[in-house]
């Protein structure tokens, strides 16, 4: 891959709506209301209007609430925007970062100059995957359901539980290491008014939380929320006219359906980040020690730890030791999940959580993260992670390197 996208585009605005657990008595917003709410925040941050995106790009993530055959065009209609190019996110939790790369490529090619990228979902108000509601139609049809549902596979808790058991079999990791990640995200959530669970918990509380799918416990699991996020990406040239604090895309790397080893018997403790991350670091021209803040895809601590290894922050199998030795808080020597992550912040559906690391990285690089601001943060590493393949670990793995300077 060439260096062609380095410094070509920058994030100039971002927004994240308040999240909701849709408790009785709360006003229940629809998915398009969340999209508009997030877009309005991003436009306000950038000092732009929706009219600035007529003839430009509109990126829309898949949502389980949508159920149309042309959701991105429907969103354009609902927002009253007439874009030249629609970008559709179809990679679960990697959608947000995938759309940033697609938008950057389109800007680089001169098709558009800027794009508004939105995503929202309401898993607590529609059939989806939230406990107590029926499963969504799209989750109960197709070959993956046919060979998982009737077999008794219990969703992501179970699938990541299988990955975690195998990992713990191959490498020296203690549950305490994962607990440190979970405790840290909650500490960061306590500093973020937008996070859904803000009461700090102790390592002991983590260790003793209820087993859902052994070894995965309640405090290992991402909570579902209703909510929406958005960001605005523009050519570097335009970005400078919009803001004095652009968050530049310095590098990106991506792989879907990565196999570590053979296709039929891959090592499921290794993710596609072993390919995506080095690609992104190379394009950005940065080393691991240059990273001031790491915003991993953090729906389960095990997945975070595997990213640390597969990015090369430490050797494979030494993630536990690495976590034990580092201070993961925003004040520490390896800050992660500074917004509280999805683990404590909440996940607005399986396809939207991937916006959170991008939005938080942009906030950090612009010095807008308030009480959880990493001092002098100028380079951030960001993950997108989408989907769980059959009996393996990660369908789409994307690494972005963002920086406050070109």
């Amino acid at each position: 891959m060439t260096n062609s996208l380095r410094g070509e585009v920058a994030i100039v605005g971002y927004g994240r709506t308040p999240y909701s657990r849709a408790k009785p008595g709360e006003r229940i917003l629809t998915v398009d209301q969340y999209i508009a709410g997030a877009a309005a925040l991003a436009l306000e941050k950038a000092g732009m209007s929706k009219r600035d995106f007529d003839g430009q790009g509109l990126g829309v993530s898949h949502a389980e609430a949508s159920h149309t055959v042309n959701w991105s065009a429907a969103v354009a209609e609902l927002l009253g925007i007439s874009p030249r190019a629609l970008i559709r996110g179809d990679q679960g939790g990697a959608s947000a970062s995938a759309m940033l790369i697609r938008a950057a490529a389109m800007i680089h090619a001169g098709i558009i100059d800027r794009a508004l990228v939105v995503g929202a979902d309401t898993p607590l108000s529609i059939p989806s995957i939230a406990p107590g509601l029926p499963l969504s139609p799209e989750r109960t049809r197709g070959i993956f359901w046919e060979f998982q549902g009737p077999f008794g596979v219990m969703g992501a808790n179970n699938q990541f539980g299988l990955v975690q058991t195998r990992y713990a079999h191959q490498y020296p990791m203690k549950r305490e290491h994962l607990g440190k990640i979970a405790v840290t995200t909650r500490y960061h959530a306590s500093l973020n008014p937008g996070a859904i669970y803000r009461e700090p918990f102790t390592l002991e509380a983590y260790m003793n939380s209820r087993i859902l799918s052994d070894p995965v416990r309640l405090l290992d699991c991402v909570p579902m929320v209703n909510g929406g996020l958005a960001y605005i990406v523009a050519s570097a040239e335009t970005a400078k006219t919009i803001t004095d604090k652009p968050a530049y895309l310095l590098g990106c790397g991506e792989v879907s359906n990565y196999y570590s080893g053979s296709r039929t018997r891959p090592d499921i403790t290794v993710t596609g980040f072993v390919q995506a991350a080095p690609e992104a670091f190379r394009m950005a021209g940065v080393q691991h020690h240059d990273i001031d803040v790491f915003e991993p895809y953090d729906d389960y601590p095990m997945i975070v730890l595997m990213q640390m290894e597969d990015y090369g922050f430490c050797k494979k199998g030494e993630g536990g030791k690495f976590v034990a030795e580092r201070d993961l808080t925003f004040k520490g020597d390896f800050p992660i999940s500074t917004d509280g992550g999805q683990l404590s912040g909440g996940q607005p559906g399986g396809a939207i959580g991937g916006f959170m690391p991008i939005v938080e990285a942009a906030a950090q690089l612009r010095g807008e993260a308030g009480p959880r601001q990493v001092k002098d943060a100028s380079i951030a590493a960001v993950s997108g992670f989408g989907g769980i393949p059959y009996a393996r670990n990660a369908r789409s793995c994307i690494t972005l390197i963002l920086g406050s300077e070109k």
Partner: protein, 139 residues
């Protein structure tokens, strides 16, 4: 989606997947084998994931394997509530002796006894007139 009386999900059987369900109902484990490169793979695919050959033949595979990983579910998540009466469900990734891996529930084994590397043997639980689900038990 068709439902059993007890509510557990049933597969919507297609011409692609019918050989698997029919064989399972007859107590046999079958998988697709590439007619060109010989790769055995699971779950059912439209072509060979190694070489892209469209000609895949259903062949019987040995119903023995080892536990590659395990995770015991104590709650129902992203599945039908009817599974509740089966909890805890000891879910495994089984590595079959013939090659492929598959999700499989381990029965006749308390959760605290399941181990990676444990030898297991398939058995087949009928779920409808047309289908059975392979499960495994320790050898």
């Amino acid at each position: 989606m068709a439902q059993m009386p007890q509510g557990k999900p049933l597969p919507a059987i297609t011409d692609l997947t019918r050989p698997f369900w029919t064989a399972a109902k007859a107590g046999k484990l079958v998988m697709q084998k590439c007619g060109r490169c010989g790769t055995l793979d699971f779950l059912p695919k439209p072509w060979c994931i190694e070489c892209g050959h469209l000609g895949l033949d259903w062949v019987e595979v040995k119903p023995q394997g080892t536990v590659y990983s395990h995770s015991t579910a104590y709650t129902v998540m992203m599945n039908d509530p009817a599974w509740k009466s089966d909890l805890p469900v000891v879910m495994c990734i089984i590595e079959l002796d013939d090659g492929p891996r598959m999700y499989g529930q381990l029965t006749d084994c308390p959760p605290e006894k399941v181990r990676i590397g444990m030898r297991v043997q398939a058995h087949f639980e009928p779920i409808s007139d047309a289908a059975a689900v392979p499960k495994f038990r320790p050898i």
